[in-house]
């Protein structure tokens, strides 16, 4: 399934091209930013599509076979890796493809819609993509920590770049917490390194499996606790959800598409690593399920009582992250498939909603549900798209949300948790209620006379194209889920066989 | 003597010129003498490790080594300043 190359050409390019683009764009004057940013986003998209599968051992150091004490560059022969290992497999293929597609629209929209001096902002968007690509590709504990660190720092920057006082506060709060959870992850890695001596995740797992750690499992438990801390932080799970949702709500909607994609990638990547490292310990999966259930419910309840459409979506993103972690926490075949599939679907339908929310900025930027704006009359397309997005988000059949939620429900029933299945249904229904509250006030309700602005608004074509592309993707995946599942199933089989 | 003992000094000179161009201060003759003499004293203090045998590390007297890059960097900064005018 995964070919035996340890110097796959595409992996460094997926990391270095965004980084170099960010540097150039940050340095340049305004005019040159647009062509450079867009063309490199296209290049990244193409690379993510055509890349074959394999490994990349950065710095070109081989693996050491512990039995024969020989060095090998062949990843199929087992050896403790001396260099930093990245994997590009089916999971990385689908995840990076979707996030680079989002990156492309995100970059084009920001070059069109924003005022000048947007160089540092676009640089941050590219670095955001880079951090999520690294998190999903990396197979090294230490590098995972750096990726999470840089990822959270960039989230702070993207939120602060919108310049309002709310976004500044949100960014500062989220940044403060990165210190706690970043340090937590570092402590966790230190404990695992002290226990095993290997920074490479596969090697550390191999060591844990080969040698009976016995009473040292205390160390592993504490490491798990700290790992969960950073998982909660990176994905915005239960106790940290107020800060993360604030970041989602305070950034521009087009940036939030990328932010939510990044946090879902982090949830999947760190979740799978946790499952592989600690899965054999008792109570680990229960903790993960507990956190996911709480996040699901609190997120959706908080979404119900929001008065701003952006904040409703922000809390729903949090709530639906709970689905992803629930699937991973179940740790079964169906659960993992459902969880990862849900991450993909979630990114897609939340992107539809967020792009529609971005369209509201072209109508004056009012997203509060306190007043009625009657936008459906001005732009029936956006209203329809938002309703379709809401339908997709609440898991109604022709769309993609249904497919993953049904898998998750089946997984819960099979594991003997009918209550969680009920909760999933509740969250889906409530998602629809929460979204429809906002949609009704903003799009459908006839506007009050004094606030009605009859002027025509032309939306950028890219925005409309983007919305259409993601709706089509949503329907295609909803009708023919195998198109994504064939990327996920081999990964799940590999994770569970370890 | 290997090349690795000379290259750092050359690099230090180039870096010194680069950062010297950013100085916004009129260097007097006294200041130049002060800088160079200070840098020679400092280079004695930060002397190179004597295992890298070289003309300026260990050969003059055992245990005494000049850290050449420090001196060349200071000279580079002065040159850079003078180049910019």
């Amino acid at each position: 399934m995964i070919e035996s190359i340890s110097n796959l050409w595409s992996i460094p390019l997926l990391v270095i091209i965004p980084m170099l683009t960010a540097i150039i764009v940050n340095f340049l004057y305004d005019k040159a930013i647009k062509p450079i940013a867009i063309s490199s986003a296209i290049v990244i998209l193409i690379i993510s599509i055509i890349s074959p599968y394999g490994y990349h051992w950065f710095c070109g150091h081989p693996a050491l076979n512990p039995e024969t004490l020989t060095f090998t560059f062949n990843p199929n022969i087992f050896g403790y890796k001396l260099s930093l290992e990245f994997i590009f497999g089916p999971l990385q293929h689908i995840m990076i493809f979707i996030s680079s597609l989002i990156l492309l629209f995100c970059v084009i929209l920001s070059t069109i819609g924003l005022t000048k001096h947007q160089g540092p902002y676009i640089a941050l968007l590219f670095l955001l993509f880079m951090s999520s690509a690294i998190v999903i590709m990396v197979n090294d504990l230490y590098h995972l920590w750096i990726a999470v660190e840089i990822g959270s720092l960039i989230v702070v920057g993207v939120a602060a770049a919108s310049g309002t006082s709310i976004s500044h506060k949100a960014a500062l709060k989220y940044g403060l917490f990165s210190a706690i959870s970043g340090a937590g992850l570092a402590v966790s890695l230190a404990l695992i390194l002290g226990l095993t001596g290997f920074a490479n995740i596969s090697d550390a797992i191999m060591y844990l499996k080969q040698f009976n750690i016995g009473e040292m499992s205390t160390v592993l438990y504490i490491a798990f606790g700290f790992f969960v801390l950073s998982w909660m932080y990176a994905g915005g799970l239960a106790p940290i959800h107020p800060l993360k949702s604030e970041v989602y709500g305070a950034s521009y909607p087009h940036a939030t598409t990328l932010l939510q994609a990044q946090s879902k990638l982090m949830l999947v990547a760190i979740g799978i690593i946790m499952l592989r490292l600690f899965g054999m310990l008792p109570f680990v999966k229960e903790v993960m399920i507990f956190l996911s259930v709480i996040t699901m419910m609190i997120g959706v309840i908080m979404a119900l009582i929001q008065i701003d459409f952006r904040w409703i979506i922000a809390y729903l993103i949090i709530s639906h992250s709970g689905f992803v972690t629930l699937g991973i926490g179940l740790g079964t075949y169906e659960g993992l498939i459902g969880g990862i599939f849900q991450a993909v679907n979630d990114i897609i339908y939340m992107t539809i909603l967020l792009l529609c929310c971005e369209a509201l900025f072209y109508f004056g930027g009012k997203t509060s549900t306190k007043e009625a704006y009657g936008i459906a009359k001005k732009s029936p397309f956006i209203a329809t798209a938002t309703i379709l997005g809401a339908i997709a988000a609440s898991g109604i059949p022709p769309f993609n949300g249904f497919q993953s939620e049904i898998i998750l429900i089946q997984a819960c029933l099979k594991e003997g948790f009918p209550e969680i299945a009920v909760l999933i249904l509740m969250v889906s229904v409530t998602t629809f209620i929460a979204l429809l509250r906002g949609i009704y006030r903003i799009f459908l309700k006839p506007p009050e006379l004094q606030s009605y602005d009859d002027s025509n608004v032309d939306l950028p074509k890219v925005l409309i194209i983007g919305i259409i592309i993601f709706i089509v993707l949503s329907i295609i995946i909803g009708i023919y889920p195998d198109i994504v599942l064939r990327f996920i199933i081999p990964v799940v089989k590999e994770v569970l066989s370890i | 003597m290997m090349l690795g003992e000379i290259t750092p000094s050359l690099i230090a000179l180039i870096l010194g010129i680069i950062f010297g161009t950013q100085l916004d201060y009129k260097l007097t003759k006294g200041m130049i003498i002060l800088l160079i003499s200070f840098s020679i004293v400092a280079s004695l203090l930060f002397g190179v490790f004597t295992f890298t045998y070289s003309i300026y590390g260990g050969y003059i007297a055992p245990g005494i080594g000049f850290s050449m890059p420090l001196i060349t960097a200071t000279i580079g900064i002065i040159i850079g300043k003078l180049l910019k005018g």
């Binding site: 110097n7 460094p12 001096h117 404990l191 060591y207 | 950013q22 400092a42």
Partner: protein, 274 residues
């Protein structure tokens, strides 16, 4: 801190005690039983690259990690300047509140003592050259790019604090951003030769420990930094390859990032000159 008084405070205290007990017990379990794992292999091979093991660890075995660490500093500079107002963006189509920016600090430099007035300049210039010395000796001594950047920016800060707007070390906006860009970009691109020749990004073609690169490149990148090590066991020749170059790039990046932070917070930011 109203939230942490009374009942809540006690609960939080108990929780903290539980955490501390758990954490300390794990540390006690680990005492004396730390597994060296792969690091033994690293240490056994380190002399093949540079006389300084630390430089080999940081810039060769885990060189790509350090690239990302460098990027963290770069992003730190970027985000800090954002907080001041560089690169804050707004939507063209809708009116928003004006972006949050802060004013530059006010300098009062008239009360400088004579010693500070006359020794401040040579001290800050010598700090610059000390930083350059540290970066050039990266592969043989302790120190390297990070340290050089911090030393040089502290020289910059010293001059700025002493002399205010008439600082003798006047890094311009574009100079600082450019030097950061050269630094991080240079570090990233130093992986390119190894990638083109061997397929491994950031393969150290100068040191060429595994013999993958053609000898001409080995000479070009390796020989300028070749050193002889005279030890009890005999004379060894080693070259750190691209490690010194990486260190210079690293130093540039740190100067750019930290300099940007100092610049933005001292003098404020307006986008007109950019």
């Amino acid at each position: 801190m109203e939230e942490l008084k009374g009942k809540r405070g006690i609960i939080a205290l108990i929780a903290l005690i539980i955490i501390t007990i758990g954490f300390l017990s794990s540390l006690i379990k680990l005492t004396g039983r730390v597994n060296p794992g792969i690091s033994e292999v690293y240490n056994a091979l380190a002399y093949l690259v540079a006389p300084n093991n630390l430089a080999t660890w940081v810039y060769d075995w885990r060189g790509f990690d350090t690239l990302l660490e460098t990027a963290v500093i770069y992003v730190g500079g970027l985000v800090s300047a954002l907080a001041i107002g560089r690169g804050v963006v707004q939507m063209k189509k809708c009116k928003q509140e004006s972006p949050v920016t802060s004013k530059p600090l006010e300098f009062r430099t008239e009360s400088l003592t004579v010693i500070l007035k006359y020794l401040g300049i040579p001290a800050s210039i010598l700090l610059l050259s000390y930083g350059i010395m540290v970066v050039t000796g990266s592969s043989t001594s302790g120190g390297g790019g990070f340290q050089c950047g911090v030393i040089m920016t502290s020289g910059y800060l010293l001059a700025a604090i002493l002399y205010g707007k008439d600082t003798p070390i006047k890094f311009g906006k574009r100079f600082i951003i450019g030097i950061g860009a050269i630094g991080l970009g240079g570090y990233a691109l130093l992986g390119l030769p190894g990638y083109l020749v061997t397929g491994y990004w950031q393969y150290n073609i100068g040191a060429d420990v595994w013999g993958l690169a053609p000898s001409i490149l080995h000479i070009i990148f390796g020989d300028p930094f070749r050193l002889s090590l005279i030890l009890k066991e005999g004379v060894f020749y080693s070259t750190p390859g691209i490690i010194p170059l990486i260190n210079i790039a690293e130093a540039f990046n740190v100067i750019g990032a930290i300099g940007l932070i100092y610049f933005a917070f001292l003098y404020g930011w307006s986008d007109e000159g950019e």
